[in-house]
C-alpha cells in the first residue's frame, strides 16, 4: 500500500525529550511494532505519524511525499485507539461507514464494504448495536474495521489490545496479523507488551527514552539482543557477569574457569562483560560435578517455583564455588531456569540444582559499568512482582 519514512524526528514537551533522532523506514505492507516501556516515546512517534502532534524537527514521508505539515484528516491513515474511540451515537455499521460517508462514496459501495468488513471481523450479528451494547473485544473489532474501511495507506494501532482481556487479546492478535497480511496494509503497532510485538510483527523497534534502542525481526530481537536494555526488556534474561580474557579468541572467565564464548569476540581483554542467557536455555544437570567439557556451570538453591503452564520457572540463589574472585561480591546472584513442568517436582524449593550455561550459544555484551553494578547487587535478573 504505502512506504512510510520517519526521518530525523525530534520532539520535546517542555524540557522533556519525547522523541530523539528517530529514523525508520516501514516498507510497503510491513507490520512494525514500536515496543518499549511507558514514556519511551512510542505513542508520541505514532501521533506524529498520524499528524496529531507535529515534530520539532524531521519529516514524515509516505511514498516519497513529505506529509509533515498535512493535517490528520488529509493523511489517509487509519488509526485504532487504545480506548476504542467508537462514536457512541452510532451503531457498529454506522461507525464503519463514517469514513466512507466522509469520502462521499456511493451508498451501494458503502453498504457492500460495511457488509464485507463486518463479516471479515465477525461482527455481522452486532451491526445494529451501539458501542455500549458491545463487549470490549467487539468494540475493538469495530474500531479495526472502521480504520481499514477507508483503505488507508498506513494503519496505526495505538496499544489496541491493552483494554481487552487476555483470551480476546490473543484472538485479536491473530486477527490483526491475518488482516494485515490479507489487506497488505503498512502497519505500525504501538505496544508495551513484548509478547504481542514478538508474535505478530515483521520487525520490532525497541524504544527507550525517546530513542530507538534497536530494530530487528522478532527472532533477532529475542535471540540476539544488541543492548542490555533490549535483553532485559524482551522476555526474561539472565545476566551473568564474566571477564573477557581474550577478545581475539572469544574467551571469558568466571570463577577461574575459562570458557570459549564466541559472543565475546571483539571485546577488550580484561573488560567486564555480561553473558546473556534465556531461562529456557539453561540446562539442569544430573549432578553438580558434571561440567568437565569446558562448559560453564552454576550451582544454586531453588528459592521459588513459578508455574507457567508447559514450563515451570525456578528462581535460584547461586552458591559460588570460589570467593577470592573480585566478582565474588555478587555471591548472592539469582538465576531463572525454565524446566518442563512435568519435571519440576525434582527441584522443590530449597533443593540444590546445578545448571549448564551454554556459553557458545549465548550473547556477551560489554558492561563497563559491571564492576560498579556488582557492589551490593544481589540480582540482575528482573524478578517479576508475582514471582
Amino acid at each position: 500500500m504505502s512506504r512510510l519514512e520517519l526521518i530525523d524526528i525530534n520532539k520535546r514537551f517542555g524540557g522533556q525529550v519525547a522523541v530523539s533522532d528517530f529514523n525508520l523506514t516501514v516498507e510497503d505492507g510491513e507490520l512494525v511494532s514500536f515496543l518499549g516501556p511507558s514514556g519511551c516515546g512510542k505513542t508520541t512517534t505514532l501521533r506524529i505519524t498520524a499528524g496529531f502532534e507535529s515534530p520539532d524537527t524531521g519529516a514524515v514521508m509516505v511514498d516519497g511525499v513529505d506529509i509533515t505539515d498535512l493535517p490528520p484528516n488529509k493523511r489517509g491513515m487509519g488509526m485504532v485507539f487504545q480506548g476504542y474511540a467508537l462514536f457512541p451515537n452510532m451503531t457498529a455499521a454506522e461507525n464503519v461507514e463514517f469514513g466512507l460517508v466522509v469520502r462521499n462514496r456511493p451508498i451501494a459501495e458503502r453498504r457492500a464494504r460495511i457488509a464485507e468488513l463486518l463479516e471479515l471481523f465477525g461482527l455481522a450479528h452486532v451491526s445494529t448495536s451501539y458501542p455500549h451494547q458491545m463487549s470490549g473485544g467487539q468494540q475493538q473489532r469495530v474500531a479495526l474495521a472502521r480504520a481499514v474501511a477507508i483503505e488507508p495507506g498506513v494503519l496505526l494501532l495505538d496499544e489496541p489490545l491493552s483494554a481487552v482481556d487476555a483470551k480476546v487479546r490473543e484472538e485479536l492478535r491473530t486477527e490483526i496479523r491475518r488482516m494485515v497480511t490479507q489487506l497488505g496494509v503498512t502497519t505500525i503497532l504501538v505496544t508495551h507488551d513484548q509478547s504481542e510485538a514478538l508474535s505478530i510483527s515483521d520487525r520490532v523497534v525497541v524504544m527507550n527514552r525517546g530513542a530507538i534502542e534497536e530494530v530487528g525481526t522478532p527472532a533477532q530481537i529475542y535471540a540476539e539482543p544488541r543492548s542490555a536494555f533490549t535483553a532485559g526488556f524482551i522476555g526474561a534474561m539472565n545476566e551473568i557477569p564474566v571477564r573477557v580474557i581474550s577478545g581475539a579468541l572469544g574467551l571469558v572467565e568466571r570463577d577461574g574457569r575459562r570458557v570459549a564464548a564466541p559472543g565475546a569476540v571483539g571485546l577488550l581483554d580484561g573488560d567486564l562483560a555480561l553473558l546473556l542467557v534465556r531461562p529456557e536455555l539453561l540446562e539442569p544437570l544430573a549432578s553438580s560435578v558434571a561440567a568437565l567439557n569446558g562448559d560453564l556451570t552454576m550451582t544454586g538453591n531453588v528459592e521459588v517455583q513459578t508455574f507457567l503452564g508447559a514450563t515451570t520457572r525456578l528462581l535460584l540463589r547461586e552458591v559460588r564455588a570460589r570467593t577470592d574472585d573480585p566478582m565474588a561480591m555478587s555471591s548472592t546472584r539469582r538465576l531463572a531456569v525454565d524446566v518442563p513442568s512435568a519435571n519440576a517436582g525434582r527441584w522443590p524449593a530449597g533443593s540444590e540444582i546445578a545448571v549448564r550455561i551454554p556459553v557458545g550459544a549465548s550473547r556477551v555484551i560489554s558492561d563497563r559499568s559491571a564492576a560498579s553494578r556488582q557492589v551490593g547487587t544481589t540480582s540482575s535478573y528482573p524478578v517479576a512482582p508475582n514471582a
Binding site: A85, F87, N89, T91, F98, H132, I150
Partner: protein, 297 residues
C-alpha cells in the same frame, strides 16, 4: 446517618445532565442492596413538596374562584385576551431565538476550550458566571448607556432593538448553558473522538456536527432547557427595555385582573413543564447517550 454508599466506579459514573436522578438510581442499584429510605429523607421530601406545592395551590385557589366558589371563568378570560396571545408569542419567539443563539455560541466555544485551549478554561468559566455577580438591573443600565439614544450605536430606537433583549437574555443564560455543555463534554473523551473522526478524514466542522454534538446531546438538551426557561421567565430586562413579554404582561394583568393573572400564571407553569417533559423525552430517545460518564455535577 450516613448517605447510601456508592462505589468508586459508581461515583465516577455519571450523573447525566438532565436525568441526573435516573443515573444516580442506576448507580445505587449496582451496589446490589435495596436500601430502606431513611425517615429524614421522607421528611425533607414532604417539607419540600409543601414548600413548592402550597403556592401553586394558593394560586389555583385564587385564580379559579369567584371569591366564593370554583370557576374557570378567569382562565377563559385570560386565554381569550389579546395581550395574552401577543405577549406569549413574543416571549416564545425571543426564548427560542435565545436558546438557538446560546447553543450555537456556547457549544462550539466549550468544545474548542476543551479540545484546543484548555488553559483558557478558568477565564471562560469566570466570564460565564459574571451574570451571577452583575444583577440584570446593572445589565440594563449598561445596555441603555451603550446602545441608548445618546449613544453613537443607537440600537434602542432602531428596528434591531430586539437584539438587545435577546443579547441580554443570552448573557443571563451563560452560567447555566456553559456548565451544562461543559459537563457533557468532559464526560466524553472529546479529544479521542475528535482524533478518531479526523483519522477517518472528517474536518473539524463535520467532526463537531456529526460526532461531538450527538455525543453531548443530553448536555445540549439540558442547556436548551435552561436557556429557554431563563428567557421565558425573565422580567427585569424586558420590563426596563420596554418589551411586553409574557412575564411583563402577567404583572400588568395582576394589577387590574388578579384572578385572571393567577390563572395565567398556572398556564405558564404548565407550558414550561410541557417543554421540560418534551425535551427530556427527546433526550431519552437519543441513542448511545443513556449513560454519560463523568464527574458529579
Amino acid at each position: 446517618m450516613s448517605s447510601p454508599s456508592i462505589t468508586g466506579e459508581a461515583t465516577e459514573e455519571a450523573i447525566a445532565i438532565l436525568p441526573g436522578v435516573h443515573a444516580r438510581e442506576k448507580a445505587a442499584r449496582r451496589t446490589g442492596h435495596a436500601r430502606r429510605t431513611p425517615v429524614w429523607a421522607i421528611l425533607v421530601l414532604l417539607v419540600s413538596a409543601v414548600y413548592f406545592l402550597l403556592p401553586l395551590y394558593a394560586t389555583a385557589a385564587f385564580g379559579f374562584s369567584t371569591g366564593k366558589h370554583f370557576t374557570l371563568q378567569p382562565l377563559w378570560d385570560g386565554l381569550g385576551d389579546d395581550g395574552f396571545h401577543t405577549s406569549l408569542w413574543l416571549s416564545l419567539l425571543y426564548s427560542v431565538v435565545t436558546t438557538i443563539l446560546a447553543l450555537a455560541v456556547v457549544a462550539p466555544t466549550a468544545y474548542l476550550v476543551e479540545l484546543r485551549f484548555p488553559r483558557l478554561r478558568a477565564t471562560v468559566e469566570f466570564l460565564t458566571i459574571l451574570p451571577f455577580v452583575i444583577p440584570p438591573i446593572v445589565l440594563v443600565v449598561g445596555l441603555s448607556s451603550m446602545y441608548g439614544i445618546n449613544s453613537p450605536v443607537n440600537l434602542i430606537a432602531s428596528s434591531l432593538a430586539p437584539v438587545l433583549l435577546i443579547g441580554g437574555y443570552f448573557v443571563l443564560t451563560l452560567p447555566f448553558t456553559f456548565r451544562a455543555v461543559d459537563n457533557a463534554l468532559r464526560a466524553v473523551d472529546v479529544k479521542m473522538l475528535s482524533e478518531a473522526s479526523a483519522s477517518l478524514g472528517a474536518g473539524p466542522l463535520r467532526t463537531f456536527i456529526r460526532v461531538i454534538v450527538p455525543s453531548i446531546s443530553l448536555g445540549l438538551v439540558s442547556a436548551a432547557l435552561l436557556a429557554f426557561t431563563t428567557a421565558m421567565g425573565e422580567f427585569t430586562l424586558a420590563a426596563l427595555l420596554g418589551y411586553p413579554t409574557f412575564p411583563v404582561y402577567l404583572l400588568n394583568v395582576n394589577g387590574f385582573q388578579p384572578r385572571m393573572g393567577e390563572a395565567l400564571v398556572l398556564v405558564s407553569f404548565l407550558i414550561t413543564w410541557a417543554g421540560v417533559i418534551a425535551l427530556a423525552a427527546v433526550a431519552r430517545r437519543t441513542p448511545g447517550t443513556q449513560v454519560v460518564r463523568g464527574g458529579p455535577m
